[in-house]
Amino acid sequence: MNPVIEQMVKGVGGLVTLPDVFIRINQLVEDPDSTVEDIAKAINADPSFTARLLRVANSTFYSFPATVDTAARAATIIGTSQIRNLALSTSISRSFEKLPNTLVSMRNFWMHSLYCGLAARKLARMAGKCDVDAVFTAGLLHDIGELVIFNRIPEEARLALLLVQDSADELTIPEAEQEVMGFNHAEVGAELARHWKLPLMLQECIAYHHDVTKARHFPRENALVHIANILSLMAEVNTYNPDEVAQVDPLAWEITGLLADEVRQQVIEEARVEFIEAEQMFFGTGGQLNG
């Protein structure tokens, strides 16, 4: 492990913390003796999370036939391990509020992350054989290392971005970061995810979303996040032309069994449609994404 990265992640440790509700639910999900009632109690202890959870549970995001009106019912219908993902997804932007930066507005940062999460979820559903909601969370979290870099070493981060522009995109962002800093945002994000003891699947997707050959345990999920990251760039700049953004590693299509030309446009279109409602659900009404 790179000691510079370790030091940097330790440095933000006090500022960026996982939400208590996620930590509690996480412990309960891991505990074989816990019951759905225990988890419902943990949810209810955080009224603001309870409200967000019920909102998501009753949205088109899940399209359950009946109204989900209590935490206990949500835990039963959605499933306890999904609740854990939601506790992380609906709180992650709050976790980073104390880590401001001058390079990218928080709104634009989370906009890209949310597009990636939505695209990853869609792709996961098409590809099958994976946990759709967990892949959404992985997409949402894939770039958290950037926020650490932007806050801790803004001058180097700025140089890396300028290098990308100067090269007329011959260099990718992780390549430019490597050149300026000797490491990239994916490594920093991975260290933060390890530090937080996030599930291994999330750790791998955060670490390897730029390199699909490296994920040893979750290559399928990681390949989905890799593709989703590129499609979310296309959604962000409103284009269906793959030449306008970074290229998807062909191996990622192979791993997932999806065909680029068959899914690309549909995934971008649906992510754009879902975005507005999802923004409200995950970042709160008129809240997080306004900054």
Partner: protein, 211 residues
């Protein structure tokens, strides 16, 4: 970009020695990199590229001979002037006139014919949401200037909320425009603000050579 190619670059036209040029692998040609306030003209088969936020670039060439170039400019802010016309003699319009005239004059001086000129314009994005739409003024100015000069706008990609990377190949007139993700907004805006501060403190000299 391979720096070692720099030694083998054919020389630029006089006056453009300070523009950064290097071999570019993807374009498979030498490429000149423009910063805000700069312009570049070439007779060779090479590329010119720049990144634009609210600034605007005009790409102008002689469609018969292939000599052409690109500028990158913006009009300084002024409270009294809402819109600017090419004929205006106000200080801020003069920056636009200066950028456009220099580009056109160097093309003509090196053999371009006025009647063969075609233009393409790019940029003028509204990349910072809480700023007044300075991009719009730059677009309006460029269009009005070209109309006044009788130069046809062959294509354009302007406005909207995106920064752009524009690559121009004057020999063929081909352009690649790529919208950039918002991650680049602040660094591009920073460069433009820095450029703006230099033109606001340094007035344009009045001696523009007219053809």
């Amino acid at each position: 970009m391979a720096d070692d190619m720099g030694t083998r670059l054919s020389p630029a036209l006089p006056g453009f020695e300070n523009i950064k040029r290097a071999w570019h692998g993807t374009f498979e040609t030498v490429a000149a990199r423009l910063l805000p306030g700069q312009y570049f003209v070439t007779m060779r088969d090479e590329a010119i590229y720049t990144t634009l936020g609210s600034c605007i670039s005009a790409c102008i060439r002689d469609r018969m001979s292939g000599i052409g170039g690109m500028n990158h400019f913006m009009l300084p802010l002024s409270k009294e002037e809402i819109s600017l016309k090419a004929g205006d003699i106000s200080a801020s319009a003069r920056y636009g006139n200066y950028a456009m005239e220099h580009l056109i004059n160097v093309i003509l001086k090196n053999g371009g014919k006025r009647q063969n000129l075609e233009a393409k314009i790019f940029g003028g994005g509204r990349i910072i949401t809480n700023m007044t739409d300075v991009g719009r003024r730059n677009i309006d100015f460029a269009r009005d200037y070209l109309k006044t000069e009788g130069i046809e706008i062959a294509s354009q990609d302007v406005g909207d909320i995106f920064p752009r990377m524009v690559v121009y190949f004057p020999k063929t007139g081909k352009v690649k425009v790529k919208r950039l993700r918002s991650l680049h907004n602040n660094t591009i805006a920073e460069q433009e603000i820095e450029y703006l501060s230099t033109i606001e403190t340094k007035p344009v000299s009045g001696d523009i050579e007219l053809f």
